[in-house]
Each structure stands twice: as structure tokens, then as C-alpha cells.
Amino acid sequence: MSIIEINNLKRDFIVGDETVHALRGISFGIDAGEFVSIMGTSGSGKSTLLNILGCLDTPTSGDYIIDGVNAATLSRNELADIRNHKIGFVFQSYNLLPRTSVLENVELPLMYNKQYSARQRREHAMEVIHRVGLDQRIHHTSAQLSGGQQQRVAIARALVGDPVIILADEATGNLDTRTSYEIMALFQELHASGTTIAFVTHEPDIASFTSRTIKLRDGHIIEDSPVQTQNAQAALEALPKNEDY
């Protein structure tokens, strides 16, 4: 079943008298349970695409259907609700609330969802915190966590609302190789348990942990192919262990 369906999607930015064609007519679909990486050179339109997929932005033209809803025609409030109910974001720079506990950071999306009571909020948050392996840290604030741990909190926050898809924009961009692999191992675990993920990255080794890669150049798709999926946990164990300098 297709979670995301885009059709001849275009996005133009008008800067002064110039028009930047960031996306020049893109079509593809993502099925439930897929782990897709989106690759491409800097400026090729990856973030622009992800913003539209995440309902933070609307296309200049073309269709974007997420979970059966055409998002190209929704109002700002409706887009906010779609983001809340159907999408989980993971950003390069974590974006946790400062001086706020892990638990509260993870609960945050549910605060904007009337269907959750305070108790349900707490239960759901505890459950996803457990899934990312931070049970021992629920009362720590982000300043007391490493980069990798912060990104785990961000992943828990993305998971907490039971989204149909997780969108990650260079989620390992700020992390060293070992921590990146640990995060990828976590993503693979989530994927194995049925989560659909779209993952923007520059790095081919990161992309090799996904199951399908879409390559962009100048706003066009130049390649869309399945990947020989590598096991992140295995890659992690294969890393030289004497990195203790």
C-alpha cells in the first residue's frame, strides 16, 4: 500500500526577479514499510522535497498524496494537523527544547493532539523512549546528553504520535561515524518492526543501510533503485575499536 504518492511535483522559489526551480517535476511513491534514502549533491533539492513531504511546504504544482489525503490543497491548520498525526521529523540539529527533560521533549507532539490524555501521553512517551534505549535518562535535559543520545530523543519524539512515515533530513550529519552507525542501527530496528522511513543523506555508506535510494540532481530524479542493504549493527562491530583518542 502506498503511503506517499507524488506526481509531477514542482517547486519554484522566486528570488528577486529570478525563479529558482528547486524541483522540476518529480514523481514517485513510497509504500508502507519502505526505508528510502534520498541522495544528491548540495542544492539538488533534497531538503525542498523533504519539506514538501513533511507538509512544511506546499508544491508550486503537482500532487502530493499522503495517506490518502492530497496535501497540495490543504490550509495551514490542516497541514499542521497532518504533521502532528501522520509525520515524524528528525532534524540534523536535533532541535530539542533546551532545559527540558527527555520525557517532556518526547511528549511534546502529543500536547498538540487533543486525543491524548495526560496519562496516555506519559505512557506513549515512556514506550518510545524505551524503544530508543533511553529509559535511564528520562529526567535528563538535552544539555546533559551526548549528540547521539539527543538524536535518539528526537527519534523518540518523531515516533511518539504513531506517524505513517518518519522523515529525516541528514539526521546523522552532526554525528561521528560510530554514532551515525548506531543511529542507523536504530533506524534499521524501527524499519524491521514496520516503520516507514525516508532519509536524506549525502553519504553513500549511510544510504547503504537503507533499502531503496532516490538520487536527485538539479531538481530531477536521476536514479531510483533498490539497495543491497547492509546491516548497520554488523558495520558498527566492524569499525576499528581503538578510536579512543
Binding site: G54, L56, N77, A80, L97, Y112, G161
Partner: protein
């Protein structure tokens, strides 16, 4: 996001920057405490004056002879003799809204008892003077209409005179005091009124039948003044009108411009005094509330800073599903809470300040004032604080809610 969660966020954000919040609130604190102080003191003075006046009788009326202007020509002092027995008789007959009349004639006198003396004035009046001026007797009796009829040499004296002439505690009733060279028997002592109203000592008084003052002290047959009391404070105006009409009739005056007397009611005086106080209070409050505007601008300024500082947070909240309204409310509530906390501190400070000032003025003694907690001022302050918070928080909150999530989340 529900209100209690928004409130929690607002409080946490404020507590995170305690010093900044306190400095921001300063304008509100000063403004509100100044307004509370002004309104409380204003109300206190009003109350103090009212009780001062009511001790003199809030329904009392004075009729004074006035200079007559005829065709622009001043007719001189002759008209000050315009009130006499004939007027009194007519007035007593035709003024149903008046409870009592008392003519008033005064004369300075040296009072002597034994080796002690006291210089004061004798107040010539009728027995009704007591009720008109809210005096009551401590001991003895008031003189009667019969005493008035026969110019009796009797007097009723106040506490000050008692203290001056009878320092050893002798009962003055039954004793004889000489007023100049006229011996007068003391038949009563007035109960102490206590307060000096605007500097005069209400207890430095000797009441004597007015006829006695007219015949034995001054040798006149007119009244210097007529005092009266209306049946109630509300009836004051009607009573004054009746008096005016009656006197015009007895004096044969057709044109009100020719009036040779003047009628003043305490009610009128109170009303004008009150409206003057209200104006003054309003003016001072208006000045004080300028500080509220300054405080509001301070809040607006800090809210803009807060919104800019927290651009990324706003972007994130939007990305995870906050609607514009959620963001607007979050920041609006923060500014309202900021303003309300300032207001609360201001109210407490204002109460303290008005208490201290009222007590200080009271002990100074020149001004009748009482400490009143102006509940309306406190209620008003709350409303004003919310209004200031909403008004000055609106644009910063609107700016926050209008941010583009993509740009906000990447904001450095």
C-alpha cells in the same frame, strides 16, 4: 494545547529569566502601585471628609445675609441685617422639609471663673442648635425656648472651656461664669466632639440663647445667620428651595438677582467637594497610568526579544503540529502572565504604600483621611493588567505565530 499546559509553559519561560522578568515588570509594578495608592488615598480623603462633615451635620443648611446688588450698585452693609424674627416665624411655618431652625449670633467674650479666664466666643442660638450641629449633652440640660423668650443668662459649654476654667474637676453645672461683666449660669456641658475640624476646635464653644446675645451682648435685633437642618440629606435641596422662596416672599423680592440672602446646604458643599476630589484622583491616576503604558511597552519589547530568541523552538513546535493559534496563545499568555505577576506585586506594594501614607497623614492631623482598601481599584488593576498583557503582547505573539516553520527551524 490546553490552557493549563500553556500556563505551565509561560510560567516556566518567565521563571527561567527571573531578573529579566522582574525588570520588565518594573513599569507595571510602579504603575499599578501608583494607581492603587492614588485611588486608595483619594477614597480615603473622601471618606475622611464625609465623616468630618457628617459630624457637622450632612443635612445642615446655612442662610446668610448677602450683599444686595441693585442695578450693579452695591447697597452696602445695610442688607446684612436682612434676617430677623419675622423671617424665622415665616420660615418655621412654610418649610416642611426643614426639621429645625436656629438663629445664630456670635460675640467674642472673655470668660472668667474665679481666678481663671479663657477668651472665646459665645454662640447665640436656639435649642435646635444641638441637633443641627450634631452636639449632645454630657451632663446637665440644654436651655429651652422659654429661656430664649426671656433672654435668660444661662449657658451650655464645651469640653475645652470646661478644661480651661475648671481644671480641678469641679462640676461646672450650677456654677456661674462671667462673660465680660455678664454673669451666666452653666446649666449643661457638651459631649466632646473629639476632632478639630479643619483646625477649629469644635469643643471651644459656649451656647447661649440667641436673644441673650442680641440684647445683652450686641444690642441688635437681627440674626447674623440662620442655621437649619433638612429632614434628611436628600431633602436638603428641597428644603433650600423652600427657604429661598419663603425669604423672597417675606422680603418682597421678585427677581432672584435681587436676593439679599444666600442659602447654602452641606449637601451641596459635600457634592462639590466630592466631585473635586474625584477629579483630582482621576488626574493623579491618569498620570500614574502613564507608567502602565511605559510598562506595557517594556513587556512588548521583551516579548519581541523572546520570540526572536525562541525562533527555533517556534519552528520546531510548528513542525510537530502546533497550529498558529497554539503559538499565538503561548506567547500571548506569557505576556499576560508577566503583566499579571507585575500587577500582583504592584497591588501588594500599592496597598502597603497607601496604608503607610494614610497613617502618616492621619498622624499629621491636618487632613481628615482614613485608610480604605479600594476593592474597585484592585479589581480594575487586574483587568488593566490583562488588557496591557494582551494589547502589548499581541504583536510579538502575532509575529511568532506568523513565522515560516522552515525558516524558523533553521534560524541561527
Amino acid at each position: 494545547m490546553n490552557l493549563s499546559n500553556l500556563l505551565k509553559i509561560a510560567l516556566r519561560a518567565i521563571l527561567r529569566n527571573k531578573t529579566r522578568a522582574l525588570l520588565t515588570m518594573l513599569g507595571i509594578i510602579i504603575g499599578i502601585s501608583a494607581v492603587i495608592t492614588m485611588l486608595s488615598l483619594g477614597e480615603g480623603v473622601k471618606l475622611g471628609m464625609t465623616s468630618e462633615f457628617s459630624s457637622m451635620g450632612t443635612n445642615s443648611i446655612m442662610v446668610m445675609p448677602a450683599r444686595q446688588q441693585r442695578g450693579g450698585v452695591d447697597m452696602g452693609n445695610s442688607t446684612s441685617k436682612s434676617l430677623d424674627e419675622k423671617d424665622l416665624a415665616a420660615l418655621k411655618k412654610s418649610c416642611p422639609h426643614v426639621a429645625a431652625f436656629s438663629p445664630s449670633v456670635t460675640s467674642g467674650a472673655q470668660m472668667v471663673y474665679g481666678s481663671r479666664n479663657h477668651s472665646g466666643s459665645v454662640q447665640g442660638c436656639s435649642p435646635a442648635y444641638l441637633s443641627i450641629n450634631n452636639y449632645s449633652l454630657e451632663r446637665g440640660l440644654m436651655f429651652t425656648d422659654q429661656d430664649v423668650k426671656v433672654y435668660s443668662k444661662v449657658c451650655v459649654i464645651g469640653k475645652t472651656i470646661v478644661d480651661e476654667l475648671f481644671p480641678d474637676g469641679t462640676n461646672p453645672v450650677g456654677q456661674t461664669i462671667r462673660f465680660g461683666n455678664i454673669p451666666m449660669k452653666v446649666i449643661g456641658v457638651l459631649k466632646e466632639k473629639g476632632q478639630g475640624s479643619f483646625g477649629n476646635d469644635a469643643d471651644d464653644i459656649a451656647l447661649v440663647p440667641y436673644t441673650t446675645v442680641q440684647k445683652r451682648f450686641l444690642g441688635i435685633n437681627y440674626f447674623q445667620m440662620l442655621e437649619a437642618s433638612a429632614v434628611s440629606q436628600e431633602a436638603s435641596e428641597a428644603a433650600a428651595t423652600e427657604i429661598t422662596h419663603t425669604l423672597r416672599a417675606t422680603h418682597g423680592i421678585g427677581n432672584p438677582d435681587d436676593d439679599d440672602f444666600e442659602v447654602r446646604t452641606m449637601d451641596e458643599l459635600l457634592t462639590s467637594m466630592n466631585s473635586m476630589m474625584s477629579m483630582l484622583t482621576l488626574l493623579l491616576t491618569a498620570i500614574a497610568s502613564i507608567s502602565l503604558i511605559v510598562g506595557g511597552i517594556g513587556i512588548m519589547n521583551i516579548m519581541y526579544v523572546t520570540v526572536t530568541e525562541r525562533t527555533r523552538e517556534i519552528g520546531l513546535r510548528m513542525a510537530i503540529g502546533a497550529r498558529q493559534r497554539d503559538i499565538l496563545l503561548q506567547f500571548l499568555l506569557e505576556s499576560v502572565v508577566l503583566s499579571l505577576i507585575g500587577g500582583l506585586i504592584g497591588i501588594l506594594l500599592g496597598i502597603l504604600l497607601s496604608y503607610v501614607l494614610a497613617t502618616a497623614i492621619q498622624s499629621g492631623g491636618d487632613m481628615p483621611i482614613s485608610f480604605v482598601l479600594s476593592y474597585s481599584a484592585i479589581g480594575l488593576s487586574f483587568v488593566v493588567c490583562v488588557a496591557v498583557g494582551v494589547f502589548f503582547g499581541w504583536y510579538p505573539a502575532k509575529k511568532a505565530a506568523g513565522l515560516d516553520p522552515i525558516q524558523a527551524i533553521r534560524y541561527e
